[in-house]
Structures are given as structure tokens and as C-alpha cells.
């Protein structure tokens, strides 16, 4: 199977949408849904044709691009990137469905969304640093327009803030990339992996990458674009932002940072672990005192990405597998959270927690789904989030017992804010103000049910997804060990 088809599907979709006149809204939506479904089908197909018993990159293809600089358009997929591709296509498709009631400039909305998705697929599939970097920018830039045009609240501020933060991050990654190129005259990741680098070089490069990609994760204290960005974005875009974009940073840091510069990573690992604890705990506390529901969920995302950082810092197979699994699990869970918040907002026209209350009477389905998502978020067994968090904790405890223990404390703080919010929104006596509200309809349930099934399915039977990730992660870890660098 040709991997570039996965990148082409959203691009061709965007081109098709350009040809459809804006007034045919339902045609645009149906086209989008079909394109999204195609993308999903193709990534599921990729999962089945992918050989899980062999480690390393598969379906590698290379198209010469700038031959004079030895830069090729190289794509490939391993267990790690495949899990991220699956995540992207699931959230993309459900995001399209969630936007079904969208009215405002639908055509342009989907076009920008599709360009973004193409960028994301590109990042996960590319085997050349320059190609990956370009795709990263393609994934990041449309967001500015999406927040600025279709957002809500202080959207201009949020859009600018988001863009400035992420472009500043990119600048650091760009410096690192140029330094690597000057040193090696190649940006081919496979080739780069065969070379050895001096320890001081690794330390500098890894720090630059940590800042550059850390902004996307986001890493405290570079995280402040996230709450505003998530909260101002329209629902489907929040889903993609929390579900996929934030994972680009973690992915790139594993693939390039840890994969190529293990000595540098090992040097900065205690710092990453410390920041991970700050992410987990500090942000969980911030989430606890938010008054706007979407800000709670947005902050919760940052807090959960702290677990990913913890998994990265420990740098062993278990912890890194857990980190990637957490990226998947959190992506699904965050998408579900934002979809639900969007549905509630659409009906009540408020996101202020204090205004809401007793909604379980009028919206039992929303209450059930929200509670399930919340339980997944606090790491309840039965959801995939528990498996991934458990793996991270097991892996991290070996290397950083004290820091890991403090990070585990976040499961308590998470429980506090999740259950408080659930109670404040849904429980309590019936509020007559909401009496006319309709519960989530059957059609609206479709994307939500898909996400719940994924979250629960891998929670109950974690092996298919986890072993896939394990297969992708292990060569990266073994590579460090083999080089005698750790």
C-alpha cells in the first residue's frame, strides 16, 4: 500500500470541496464525511496489512525531492506512527460528524480542516526531518485561521497566542534541524540513526528539540497557548487540537529526540521528569478552579500530557509504550470531552459551570457519556487511559521513584476536579431553566459512540493497540542500548 495516498486523501478532499459551490451545504458535509470515512478505512486497512511480527519501518517509499541536498520525500510506518495515524483518522472522522450542525462558512471550514489533517498525517508518516518539519507547519498554520474565523470568545487573542507560541517553538526546532544538517549533510531519519554524535552536540540538540516540540505537547511553562486556544476553537477543531496536534510534539520528541540523541535525552531526563510532575499536578490544580467548563477540559489535557512527559523521561520500553498509548488514549478521551462540551454549549448557550446544574434530568445520555469520559480521564480501569497510565507509572517508577510517585498523585487531583464538575453540571435537583432542552439525538450519538467504543474496547482488550505501539517503540529503545550510549 502506498502511504502517500493517506496524505493525498484529505488534500484531494479539500480540492473537491473547492469545486462545490458554498450554497450546497449538505453536499459539502456528505462529501466531507465520505472523505473522512475513506481516510479512516484506509488507516484501518493499513493496520491489517501491517506486519506486526516484524519490527522497523514498513511500506517505505522514497521520492527524490531536492537531490542536490540529498533530501527525499521519504515515508514509512511503524507501530508507533501507525497508532498515531489511527488516532488521527478516528478523530478526523468523528470531528466531521460532530460538525454536522455547523452553519457558518462550512466549505472553507472543512477545507482548512482537511489541510490540517493532511499535515498531521504527513508528520506521522515522514522519514525525513525536513519533510516532517514542513508537514508540521502545514498542520499548525490552518489552525490560526480556524480559531480566528470560526472561534468564540476572545478568539483573536487566542489565535495570535497559539500561532506565536507554536512558531517560536518551530524556530527552535528549525535551528536544531540546521545544526544537524550542517553536521551530517543529511536529514534522512534512517540514515541519521546510523550515525554517532558527540555528547555535547546531543545535549544542545536535544534541548532545542525539547523546547521546539515541547511547546506543542505542551510543556510547562510554555503551555499557556493551550487553554485559550482550545477554548476559543470550534468543537471539531478543539477535538483535533487536543486529540492530535498536541501529540505531534510527543511523537517528534520520541522519534527524533530520543531516537537519535539518547545521550542528550538522558542528560535532560531529570528536568523532563520534573516538568512532567509540574504538568501533572500544577495544571490539575489549575483545572480545579476554572469557572468555564471548556477551560477545565483544556487544562485537564495539559495535565494528562504530563504523564506522556513522564513516560518520555524514563526512556524505557514500558514507559515509552505507555507514553505513546497515553497519547492515543488521551486523544480519544479529549475528543470525546470536547465533543460533549460542544453539545452542551450548543443547547444551553453557556459554558459557565455555575450556570449549569441538574442537567442529568433533561440530558441523561449526555450525563452518562460525560461521566464515562470523566472516569476515563481519572484513569478508571476499563478504559484505555488506565492501561496507558499504568504502563507509564510502572516504567517511570524504575527510573524516578519519587517523581513518579508525585505524578501518580495527579490521579487523585484529577478525580477531584472531574467529579466536582460532573456533579455541578449534571447532578442536583431539576433546574426548570433547562426543561425544554433535548437530549443528544441518535444521529449525534454516532461519533460519540465511536469514540466510547474505542476507549472502552482497548481498555478491555488492550493487547492489539499496545503491542502495536510496543513493536514500534522497542527498536528505538534497543537502538539506544545497542549503541552503548545508555
Amino acid at each position: 500500500m502506498h502511504l502517500y495516498s493517506l496524505i493525498l486523501i484529505p488534500l484531494i478532499g479539500a480540492l473537491t470541496l473547492i469545486l462545490i459551490p458554498s450554497k450546497h451545504q449538505s453536499l459539502i458535509k456528505w462529501t466531507s464525511a465520505i472523505v473522512g470515512l475513506l481516510g479512516l478505512a484506509l488507516s484501518i486497512h493499513l493496520y491489517f496489512v501491517f506486519d506486526k511480527s516484524v519490527s522497523g519501518m514498513q511500506f517505505v517509499e522514497s521520492i527524490p525531492w531536492i537531490p542536490s541536498f540529498w533530501i527525499n520525500f521519504r515515508l514509512g510506518v511503524d507501530g508507533l506512527s501507525l497508532s498515531m495515524v489511527l488516532l488521527t483518522s478516528i478523530i478526523w472522522f468523528t470531528g466531521i460528524l460532530v460538525s454536522w450542525n455547523f452553519q457558518e462558512r462550512v466549505k472553507e471550514f472543512f477545507i482548512y480542516m482537511f489541510i490540517l489533517v493532511a499535515g498531521v498525517f504527513g508528520v506521522f508518516l515522514s522519514l525525513d526531518f525536513l519533510v516532517m518539519f514542513i508537514f508540521l507547519e502545514i498542520a499548525v498554520i490552518p489552525k490560526f485561521v480556524l480559531i480566528h474565523v470560526w472561534g468564540s470568545g476572545k478568539k483573536e487573542y487566542s489565535a495570535i497566542k497559539y500561532t506565536l507560541y507554536l512558531l517560536t517553538g518551530s524556530a527552535f526546532a528549525l535551528i536544531a534541524m540546521m545544526m544537524i544538517y550542517l553536521q551530517t549533510t543529511t536529514l534522512d531519519l534512517t540514515h541519521l540513526a546510523t550515525l554517532t554524535y558527540s555528547a555535547p552536540f546531543q545535549k544542545v540538540i536535544f534541548l532545542l528539540l525539547l523546547i521546539g516540540f515541547g511547546v506543542i505537547i505542551p510543556l510547562w511553562p510554555l503551555h499557556r497557548w493551550t487553554p485559550d486556544g482550545h477554548s476559543s476553537a470550534p468543537t471539531a477543531i478543539s477535538m483535533l487540537l487536543a486529540g492530535v496536534i498536541m501529540k505531534l510534539g510527543g511523537y517528534a520528541l520520541i522519534r527524533i529526540g530520543i531516537g537519535l540523541f539518547p545521550l542528550g535525552a538522558a542528560f535532560w531526563a531529570p528536568l523532563i521528569a520534573t516538568i512532567a510532575v509540574v504538568n501533572c499536578i500544577y495544571i490539575a490544580f489549575v483545572a480545579m478552579v476554572q469557572k468555564d467548563l471548556k477551560y477545565v477540559v483544556a487544562n485537564s489535557s495539559i495535565s494528562h500530557m504530563g504523564y506522556v512527559l513522564m513516560g518520555l523521561a524514563a526512556m524505557n520500553t514500558v514507559s515509552l509504550t505507555g507514553a505513546a498509548a497515553q497519547m492515543f488514549a488521551h486523544g480519544i478521551m479529549a475528543a470525546l470531552f470536547f465533543a460533549l462540551v460542544g453539545l452542551i454549549y450548543q443547547r444551553t448557550h453557556t459554558r459557565m459551570i455555575a450556570d449549569l446544574g441538574g442537567l442529568a434530568h433533561q440530558m441523561p445520555r449526555a450525563a452518562t457519556l460525560f461521566l464515562m469520559t470523566g472516569l476515563a480521564s481519572l484513569g478508571l480501569p476499563g478504559f484505555y487511559n488506565f492501561v496507558s497510565e499504568f504502563l507509564i507509572f510502572v516504567g517511570a517508577f524504575r527510573t524516578f521513584p519519587v517523581l513518579a510517585t508525585i505524578a501518580i498523585l495527579a490521579v487523585v487531583i484529577t478525580a477531584i476536579y472531574v467529579l466536582r464538575v460532573t456533579q455541578q453540571i449534571f447532578f442536583g435537583p431539576r433546574n426548570p431553566r433547562w426543561d425544554g432542552l433535548k437530549d443528544i439525538s441518535g444521529l449525534e450519538m454516532i461519533p460519540l459512540v465511536i469514540l466510547v467504543v474505542v476507549m472502552l474496547g482497548f481498555g478491555l482488550i488492550p493487547a492489539p493497540m499496545t503491542n502495536l505501539i510496543n513493536q514500534g517503540i522497542d527498536p528505538i529503545v534497543q537502538h539506544e542500548v545497542m549503541k552503548g550510549q545508555l
Partner: protein
């Protein structure tokens, strides 16, 4: 029979799925499904127990739920499986039996409730989770089901979610348990890190090689935090009294007989871990003993019938924990068994009374003995058993705990235990004399409940009378075995009666009943005057030692305060710094822009001034 062990939890799971997926709209059908599947589990549990009695060997089966490899070698295996030994068999019986009786009882109790099907679905899910916990063969699986029973407890305490008190209580239960489970989780991860396995059997082999090491001390205490939360030991006890906001049958099943006993069960299951470090055992013993006394004193002054029973449960759990801590796993488990019967009986009896009176304040009851005789007399039997009156179930188990406490030279705990026996009898019979006998104080029109509610009461009353006999010398002589030769940690003990201790504890219990009779039935001493006389102590007990207030303060000032501080740092400091940088760059841009406005006149002016200046300069 052991190969069918997996079916015991699976049947309630199937019931849950059937109710959620199919019979949700048909209320009675949901109840029938839940009850009959639970009955199926009960029969399986009985046959497995019988088989275990005949040949008490251990069976273990598991699958690898998740395996991670590094460099072709397994680095982590998470198992799901079952371990069927006498301990699990006894616990399975208790859980399935109480669950079945509670389900039967609930058909009457929950009649007409909007959430009838939801209720039966939740109980089935709970039964599944609890049984999954009981048969678990490793700490990981135990943790998984441990959390799931916690979830069911949350869902069932908050069953009437529209009541703010219920919603608060469910949240409190979950979060309090989370604090404890944090320690539990760190503990089992630590065990895995040090010993490379979660499996009980493998761990006990490895741990038996280590004694009194620092690692085992730390890990033992961490793991023990889990049981402290679930079994509501001080200082995690605060959630259990509030949990009474849930439907009363739930209190009987989850918050008296089974889930709260899971903590005791886990200590018994992982006994080798705790017993390998002396100081851990001492901590367990004293936390148990303290909780027993602490909760019993609070129970003395409460007015809500369910809260009195809740504090009594706390106290009895403390008793069991104390028994485990002093070194006798058997007597702790024995008391767990008898307590499950009589405390479930008491809660179901209380439910029957609340159902009839529509009030939970014991001072609004009274005069019930003629109107609902079955409920009242079974309640009295339950109270006698709880108080430890010969020859009821509680007498044997309580007596044994006191005996082992003395045998292991815990003199202080022995005195404390005897005092608690006195207090227990006193508060139970205070409740009985006020709520069941005497005059009808609120003009209620109580009547006896339907057969689905009284039948479980009768069955449990019979068990409360006879269950203790299985650990008596007579039973041992008759059958050649007893509870303590069936279920033991290292070596079986033949039951004996220590008459001096038996007499002492009986005297304590009977004087408790006597005092209650004098004060609340004969009213020769005025309770109000006593309360006036010891006003400080009375208020302290009424306010439950102000623990809830302290925690509330800590939460508001500590956690929320910290949240506000961090939020401030986020918004003012970090945003200020970054937004400030952005503003600075922009404003410098605005300033720099003046240098290239594109207006020719301006440039010409600058040029002119410059030439003029240079000319002047040159002339000078």
C-alpha cells in the same frame, strides 16, 4: 468444580449486560434477571465451597492480558485469572449470598423508583466487580476490580443524584478512596519493580526470603493504604457514614457486608507481605483498634438509624483489622464472615423500618414491635449477635479476636476490645429501646413489609444465630474440622474456648445492654441530663470529633487555595511574561516604524537637518 470459578463473576456481568442492553424498559424483568443470575453464582459458590471443604487444594488459572517485550524478552506481564482456595471460596459464598438476598429484598424496597432497572444493573455490575476482586490471583487484577467496586459504590451512593447530599456523599466516597488507592497503586508498582511480579503466589515465595527489610516496610505500608480506604479505617473513615445517603439495601450489601470488607480480605490475601515486617503488623493492629474505639464512641450519640449502624460497621471493621494486625488472619476473617450476616441483617431491618416509617431519626420511631414483629425481632437477633451474646455468631468471632489479642500480648488492645464490646452493646440497645420499643413518637403508620423483604431478614437471622458455631470445639469434635482449620495462614488452629475471656466479654456486653435499658427503657437516668453534664464530650461526639470540618477546611484552604495560587501564576506571571514579550516586540516595532514611514518629505527633512548640522559642524 474449580474450573467454573470464572463463571461466578461472569453471571452477574451477563445480568448487567442483559439489563442495560435488553430489559432496561421492563422493570420487573430486570430485577428477575439480576436476582436469578446472582442465585446461579450463589449455587456455584456453594458447590465450590463444599468441594474445597472436601479437598482444600489451591487452583490457579490465568491468561496474559497484556505482555510487553523489550528485545524479544518479556518485561511486563499483566495477568487476569483466578485463584481458588479456601479463603476465596468463603468470600465468594458471602458475596453471592448477601447479593442474592439484597437483590430479592430490593424488589420490594425499590418498588416504584424511576431508576429501578438502573439500580439492578448497578448491583449486578457491583457483584461482578466484587467477585472479580475476590478470585483475583494478582495485585494488578485486584487493583482493577478494586477501582470498579469503588465505581459501583460511587454510582450507588449517588443513585438518587438529584439529592445534593447523595451527590456530595458519592463524590466524597470516591475521592477519599482515591487518596488511599494512590498509596495502594504506588505500593503494587513498587512491589513489581522490586520483585518483578504482581502474582500473589510468586510474591509470597519471594517475600518469604526477605524479612523486616526497609523496602518491605515501605511497600507494606503503602499497599495497606488501600485497605485503609476501602475498609474506612481512621483517618479515611469519613466517607462511610455519608455513604448512607444511598438506598438502604446498598448500605447492607456494599457498605456493611462486602465491599468495605474487601480491605480486610486484601490484607488476608496478601498476608505474607504484611506479616513479614513486624512494625507493619503493629501499625495495622493499632489503626484497627483505634478505629474500633473511635467509631464506637461516635455511635453512642447519633440519631440517624443508618448512621449508627455505619459507625458500628466502622468499629467492627476496626476490630477485624486489629485481629489481622495482632497476627491472626483466621479470627479476622471469621469475624468478617459473621459480621457480614448480622450487619446485613441489621441494615436490611433498618431499611424495612425506614420503608415503613419514612424517617431515619430513631427518636421519630418507637412502638414498632407490634406493627412489624418480624423486622423487630430479627433486628434484635442481629443486635444480640453484634453485641456478642452467647451463643450467637458474634459471640464466637468477637471472643476469638479478644483471645488472640491477649495471646499475642497486646494487653492494651485487649482492654480496648473489651471496652468496645461494652460500647457496642450499649449503642445497639439504645437504638433498640428508642426506635423499636417504647411509644410511637411520631404517629407513624408502620406496617410489616412484604415477603420479599422479610424472607431475607429471616434467612440472615438464622445465619446470625448459627454461623458462629462453625468455629466451636463442639463443631470440631463433631465434624473433624472448623473454620480455623479450613482457613488459616500458616498452620491450622483447633478451636478452643477460653472461659475467662468469654465470661469477661459477655459481662461487658451484658452490662452495655443493662445500661441502655436503665437509661432508655426505664429512664431512671436521664439521657438529656447526661448530655448536659458532659456537654463538651457530647458535642465532640455529635460532631464526630470535627474530622469532617477539618477535612473541609483543608480542602477549601489547602487544595482550592493552591489551585487559585497556580491559576494566578498561570494568568498573571506566565501570561504576563509572554504577553509582555509580545507587546514589547510589537511596541518596539511601532517605534522602529517611524524610521521608515515612506514619506519623502520626512526623509528630505532629515536629510536637510543632517546636511545643515554637518555644514555647521564643518564651519566651526
Amino acid at each position: 468444580m474449580d474450573q467454573f470459578t470464572w463463571l461466578i463473576p461472569t453471571l452477574p456481568l451477563i445480568a448487567f449486560l442483559i439489563i442495560v442492553g435488553i430489559t432496561y424498559r421492563f422493570k420487573l424483568l430486570s430485577a428477575i434477571v439480576a436476582t436469578s443470575f446472582s442465585l446461579g453464582s450463589l449455587f456455584l459458590a456453594i458447590s465450590i465451597l463444599i468441594q474445597k471443604i472436601q479437598s482444600p487444594k489451591t487452583t490457579e488459572t490465568f491468561i496474559n492480558w497484556l505482555t510487553l517485550t523489550a528485545n524479544q524478552q518479556t518485561v511486563l506481564t499483566l495477568q487476569m485469572g483466578y485463584l481458588m482456595d479456601p479463603l476465596a471460596a468463603v468470600m465468594c459464598l458471602i458475596v453471592t449470598l448477601i447479593a442474592t438476598l439484597v437483590l430479592l429484598y430490593s424488589i420490594g424496597y425499590m418498588k416504584g423508583d424511576d431508576g429501578f432497572s438502573r439500580y439492578f444493573a448497578y448491583i449486578s455490575l457491583f457483584t461482578f466487580s466484587m467477585l472479580g476482586l475476590v478470585i483475583s490471583n494478582n495485585y494488578f487484577q485486584t487493583f482493577v476490580f478494586w477501582e470498579l467496586v469503588g465505581l459501583c459504590s460511587y454510582l450507588l451512593i449517588g443513585f438518587w443524584f438529584f439529592k445534593p447530599a447523595a451527590a456530595d456523599a458519592s463524590k466524597k466516597a470516591f475521592i477519599t478512596n482515591r487518596w488511599a488507592d494512590f498509596g495502594f497503586l504506588v505500593g503494587i508498582i513498587g512491589l513489581f519493580t522490586h520483585f518483578g511480579t504482581f502474582n500473589f503466589a510468586e510474591l509470597s515465595t519471594v517475600i518469604s526470603l526477605h524479612q523486616n527489610t526497609l523496602v518491605l516496610l515501605i511497600l507494606g505500608l503503602l499497599v495497606f493504604l488501600g485497605p485503609m480506604g476501602k475498609s474506612a479505617m481512621f483517618p479515611f473513615h469519613v466517607w462511610l457514614p455519608d455513604a448512607m445517603e444511598g438506598p438502604t439495601p446498598i448500605s447492607a450489601l456494599i457498605h456493611a457486608a462486602t465491599m468495605v470488607a474487601a480491605g480486610i480480605y486484601l490484607v488476608a490475601r496478601g498476608y505474607i507481605l504484611f506479616a513479614s515486617v513486624d512494625s507493619v503488623m503493629i501499625v495495622i493492629a493499632y489503626i484497627g483498634g483505634f478505629t474500633a474505639l473511635f467509631a464506637a464512641t461516635i455511635a453512642l450519640v447519633q440519631r440517624d438509624i443508618k448512621r449508627i449502624l455505619a459507625f458500628s460497621t466502622l468499629s467492627q471493621l476496626g476490630y477485624m483489622m486489629m485481629a489481622l494486625g495482632v497476627g491472626s488472619m483466621t479470627s479476622g476473617m471469621f469475624h468478617l464472615t459473621t459480621h457480614a450476616f448480622f450487619k446485613a441483617l441489621l441494615f436490611l431491618g433498618a431499611g424495612s423500618i425506614i420503608h415503613a416509617v419514612h424517617d431515619q431519626d430513631i427518636f421519630n420511631m418507637g412502638g414498632l414491635v407490634k406493627k412489624m414483629p418480624i423486622t423487630v425481632w430479627t433486628f434484635v437477633i442481629g443486635s444480640l449477635a453484634l453485641s456478642g451474646i452467647f451463643p450467637l455468631a458474634g459471640f464466637w468471632s468477637k471472643d476469638e479476636i479478644l483471645t488472640v489479642t491477649l495471646q499475642h500480648h497486646f494487653m492494651g488492645l485487649f482492654i480496648l476490645g473489651t471496652l468496645v464490646a461494652f460500647l457496642t452493646a450499649f449503642y445497639m440497645f439504645r437504638l433498640i429501646f428508642i426506635a423499636l420499643f417504647g411509644d410511637n413518637r411520631s404517629g407513624h403508620h408502620a406496617h410489616e413489609s412484604s415477603w420479599t423483604m422479610t424472607l431475607p431478614l429471616l434467612i440472615l437471622a438464622i445465619l446470625s444465630i448459627i454461623a458462629g458455631l462453625v468455629n466451636t470445639p463442639w463443631f470440631y469434635q463433631w465434624t473433624g474440622m472448623s473454620f480455623s482449620t479450613f482457613l488459616f495462614f500458616k498452620e491450622p488452629e483447633v478451636p478452643v474456648i477460653h472461659w475467662s475471656i468469654a465470661v469477661l466479654s459477655s459481662l461487658a456486653a451484658m452490662s452495655g445492654i443493662l445500661f441502655a435499658w436503665i437509661i432508655y427503657s426505664k429512664q431512671q437516668i436521664s439521657a438529656d441530663k447526661l448530655a448536659q453534664r458532659f456537654k463538651g464530650a457530647h458535642t465532640l461526639l455529635l460532631k464526630k470529633y470535627y474530622i469532617d470540618e477539618i477535612y473541609g477546611w483543608l480542602f477549601n484552604k489547602g487544595l482550592l487555595g493552591l489551585g487559585k495560587v497556580f491559576n494566578f501564576i498561570d494568568h498573571i506571571l506566565i501570561d504576563g511574561l509572554f504577553d509582555g514579550t509580545a507587546t514589547l516586540i510589537r511596541s518596539s516595532g511601532v517605534q522602529l516604524r517611524l524610521f521608515q514611514t515612506g514619506r519623502l518629505q520626512q526623509y528630505a527633512l532629515v536629510l536637510f537637518i543632517a546636511i545643515a548640522a554637518m555644514t555647521i559642524w564643518g564651519v566651526r
